[in-house]
């Protein structure tokens, strides 16, 4: 791991311990630079989780009195106090991790579903309070924090491009060249980080294009005519767009492998690994295994180019398990390969959330029919989703939704009992109801459902993808009052 600090180093605190970071680091990068892999604990069993690129719960921590701050999007600042959540009494000695000793079946559907304490009485009230304290992730924000609405802004554009990679830039430039009023929204502080890290040449953006960086476009309302984005920074307001045409250029992400240990700190998707390496000079580990569906060679080469030591490159289908409890120790690919990081580069699937919001309709269930003609999907997001490899002997210990602590075993227990409706599975297990809101875990859930029932994956209707997926705070949402009027 590259731990050489530049002269422009800053100090911050992790669980009260003083650490050094480089100016420009995200907190997640700074922690990795200091050898900290386990950032969070899962909800039910308090399994250690880290920066995976796949699951948001693994990068949530308390920062300066604010709970659930996304450390991969939070710049590290001098004196910042960062602390692990959901631990008691302390991060170093978490007694709550004793929950891992419970039989898995006891926590299917959540701790709060007690069979021993019937509801309606005083004993249940005590039980419920106890469970709420165990399951609540962070403690409430400090009372001293300011509580004012962050005023929102609203713009009218002809073309809104979502995503700043190769395809998004091309689409935005083409529309601007045609004289149209164009805005581009991108998550990164600079548009197109992943494309750049992969070595693609990015065309410069036409100066007439309004560029909104460091923002999550989370909501497509009124059939995609009113779109809402919020900045990662909590002290700035949200932005609403009145839009004629939408270009979705949000790319694809790699789906986590469905093997035991897939949630252990040190397992990352290609996006997160390349962003750390290219953006911060921090390697995923000292000995990196790269697995994928074809792109693993390219990703491994790029990581090596940034200085990473790659010890294994292979197909995702050959990966049997990831070994290690608190961090990655090795992988089993038919033989044991010692490594301390696993980077997965495929199967690649697009995030269906925005298209779902635009196109889904129905009075009994929201179902995507046809995408309106005003909406185009370009670049990797338009490519066909790759199938998720479900091992023939799917281990029940495989985590499907680490945020809500849902294992393959829990899903299989319901599927084997005859429950095959994804919406019902979601309600019975809470799978996908955490901060990620179903991506990537519903992709995994549907793949397991299809594999177990022998029915084609396309036959299952996906659960409703709902905004805003934790992209906006209460103060930012309150700032939308008067900016977006009710539809009278």
């Amino acid at each position: 791991m590259n731990s050489q600090l530049s002269p422009r180093s800053i100090e911050f605190y992790w669980n009260g311990r003083r650490m050094e970071a480089r100016e420009g680091d995200s907190v997640a990068a700074a922690l990795r630079r200091n050898g900290i892999l386990a950032i969070a604990r899962s909800r039910k069993l308090h399994r250690p989780l880290g920066h995976s690129g796949s699951y948001i719960a693994g990068v949530l921590a308390r920062v300066n009195g604010r709970p659930n701050v996304r450390l991969d999007q939070e710049p590290c600042r001098p004196g910042m106090r960062v602390a692990m959540q959901n631990v008691w009494p302390s991060a170093r000695f978490d007694l709550l991790a004793a929950a891992q000793l419970l039989p898995a079946r006891w926590v299917y559907g959540g701790f709060e579903h007690s069979r021993w304490t019937p509801s309606g009485g005083r004993a249940y009230a005590v039980w419920e309070r106890l469970m709420a304290n165990l399951a609540g992730m962070g403690t409430p924000p400090d009372a001293s924090l300011p509580a004012a609405a962050r005023p929102a802004r609203r713009f009218k554009v002809e073309v809104l491009v979502i995503g700043g990679g190769v395809a998004g830039r091309r689409a935005a430039n083409a529309a601007a060249a045609a004289g149209r009023k164009v805005a581009l929204v991108t998550r990164g502080e600079t548009p197109g980080r992943f494309s750049a890290a992969l070595g693609f040449t990015l065309e410069p953006l036409n100066e007439a294009i309004g560029v909104f960086c460091g923002m999550e476009l989370f909501g497509c309302y009124r059939e995609g005519t009113l779109l809402v984005a919020a900045p990662h920074r909590h002290d700035e307001g949200a932005v609403a767009f009145d839009v004629d045409e939408i270009v979705i250029a949000t790319g694809r992400r790699s789906m986590p492998p469905l093997v035991p240990g897939n949630h252990v700190p040190g397992v990352m998707d290609a996006h997160a690994a390349l962003e750390l390496a290219a953006g911060h000079g921090v390697m995923p580990g000292d000995a990196v295994a790269v697995v994928g569906t074809g792109a693993e060679k390219l990703v491994a080469e790029r990581l090596q180019g940034f200085g990473a030591s790659v010890v294994h490159v292979g197909a995702i289908a050959d990966l049997r398990r990831i070994i290690g409890r608190r961090c990655v120790r090795a992988i089993d690919v038919g033989r044991t390969v010692r490594c301390d990081a696993v980077v997965h580069a495929g199967p690649w699937r697009a995030d269906p959330n925005l298209l779902f919001q635009i196109a889904a309709e129905g009075l009994f269930q929201l179902v995507v029919d046809d995408t309106p003609r005003r909406v185009s999907v370009v670049g990797a997001a338009a490519e066909e989703d790759e199938p998720i490899h479900v091992p023939a002997t799917l281990s029940p210990d495989t985590l499907v939704c680490p945020c809500m602590d849902v294992t393959a075993g829990e899903l299989l227990s319901h599927i084997d009992a005859g429950e095959t409706d994804p919406e019902v599975l979601k309600r019975l297990t809470s799978c996908g109801m955490g901060p990620c809101q179903g991506y990537p875990c519903w992709e995994s859930m549907l793949a397991i459902l299809a594999a177990r029932t022998g029915r084609p994956p396309g036959e299952f209707r996906r659960p409703s993808h709902r905004p805003p997926r934790r992209s906006i705070t209460v103060a930012q949402a309150a700032g939308l009052c008067g900016v977006v009027e009710p539809d009278r």
């Binding site: 709060e112 309606g120 805005a183 009145d242 409706d421 705070t473 209460v474």
Partner: protein, 415 residues
């Protein structure tokens, strides 16, 4: 829960259209009353309707004696529901606290107390000290008065619906989801059969408890039913450890909320809009809910909104339920027009089932007769978080920056 692969029957005693909490509660109570052959059909998936989308708040008391008697009866059912169903419905009797920010609303609380006392609902107006202990996180300087309904609380819909469905099936009730009723056959002043596509089910008695679809189903039966479908929205914040103990209604902001057993603050505020018959959500509701939270629970300011969704209810002209036999159809009963359906279902199901099984209408559902609007007898209940679109007043901060719309794009952009 086993998937429903069984064939539909051709004949049954009671056919219930709607497998939400109203339909299942009625079916369960019919089975308990010894009625055999009860079939429940639902066009959507289990928990897909308003029963799986509501705020899960439970309360016994309102302002009118009519509402209070009915919902008190339901509250008594809630207290023993886990034992009756023999499934844990996770009913949490943590009380329900209504907050007034205006003098007129505070005065309304004073009027409610004697009604509650007469019916037997335990409630009290909290003093400042008591409120500080009960709800420390609230913005106390904004509170004019707080009415605490000790007979109130919450229960998560997934546990409740699971309990009802399992209890129904254990008692021989056939419950089928994703089976839409497509039409009815009539003979004289009675409905004789329901059609599910090409399949025909003959039944002696029909119960319509289909939420947003009630008016459409009544039209299919060739009769009218007052009211219309309307979207209601709610949202959940990211989970955190306990901050808000009771169920809370911010009466003057038409906003309700509570913190779930897994730490999410779930709630919603009403905004004036024309009725929408859709499951799509819209940002003004999220903004109004957030503004209400921000004003009344400032510590929620930096909490993030995880999801925001809509459900559809059938709104009656006075927002009160319509329970009983349809005046134009001898063998068709309705449990319709619910805006507080989740809290009312255990009681309404028991009383409606008793009416169907024994033919006697209980005094607690009699005022909510289906034809009360034609008879000029609506019930004006003021203590609810719903109002006709034009009567809802926005009391929340509304920084208007709409002018941004017309500004040249480049000048206002952050690059």
């Amino acid at each position: 829960m086993p998937a429903d692969e069984t064939m539909l029957p051709t004949k049954t005693n009671v056919l219930i259209v709607g497998g939400g909490i109203q339909g299942l509660s009625c079916a369960f109570n019919l089975a308990e009353a010894g009625i055999r052959e009860v079939v429940v059909l639902d066009a959507g998936y289990w928990q897909g309707g308003a029963s799986g989308r509501n705020g899960t708040l439970i309360r016994a008391g309102f302002l009118t004696p009519e509402w209070t008697r009915l919902f008190h009866a339901s509250y008594e059912e809630w207290r023993g529901l886990s034992k009756r169903l023999r499934h844990n419905v996770m009913f949490s009797p943590r009380s329900y606290t209504v907050i007034a920010e205006r003098d007129a609303t505070a005065a309304m609380f004073e009027d409610a107390l004697p009604v509650h006392r007469e019916v037997g609902v335990r409630s009290a107006i909290l003093g400042r000290r008591a409120l500080e202990e009960h709800l420390p996180a609230i913005a106390h300087d904004r509170v004019k008065a707080a009415l605490r309904l000790f007979d109130g609380g919450v229960a998560p819909h997934h546990a409740v619906m699971k309990g009802y469905l399992a209890a129904c099936r254990e008692r021989g009730v056939a419950v089928h989801y994703r089976r839409a009723v497509t039409g009815f056959e009539k003979t004289g002043g009675r409905v004789s059969a329901a059609l599910v596509g090409h399949h025909r089910i003959v039944a002696d008695t029909f119960v319509v408890a289909a939420g947003a679809c009630n008016t459409a189903l009544a039209a299919q039966m060739g009769v009218s039913l007052a009211g219309y479908p309307m979207r209601i929205e709610a949202m959940a914040l990211e989970p955190m450890r306990p901050l808000i103990g009771p169920a809370v209604s911010l009466q003057d902001r038409l906003c309700y909320m509570h913190q779930t057993a897994r730490g999410e603050v779930v709630g919603g505020a009403e905004v004036p809009e024309r009725p929408h018959n859709t499951l799509r959500s819209d940002p003004p509701t999220m903004a109004a809910t957030a503004a209400a939270y921000l004003a009344m629970f400032p510590r929620l300011a930096e909490m993030r909104i995880m999801r925001h969704w809509a459900g559809i209810i059938h709104v009656s002209p006075d927002f009160g339920p319509m329970i009983g036999r349809h005046p134009a159809l001898d063998n068709v009963w309705f449990s319709a027009g619910w805006s507080y359906g989740f809290t009312g279902a255990p009681g309404a199901g028991a009383l409606l089932a008793a009416a169907i099984a024994r033919g006697t209408i209980d005094d607690r559902i009699r005022p909510f007769a289906v034809d009360r609007f034609e008879r000029g007898r609506p019930i004006a209940e003021a203590a609810i978080n719903l109002a006709p679109p034009d009567e809802i007043s926005g009391d929340v901060a509304t920084p208007s920056t709409r002018k941004d719309l017309d500004r040249p794009l480049g000048a206002a952009l952050t690059t």
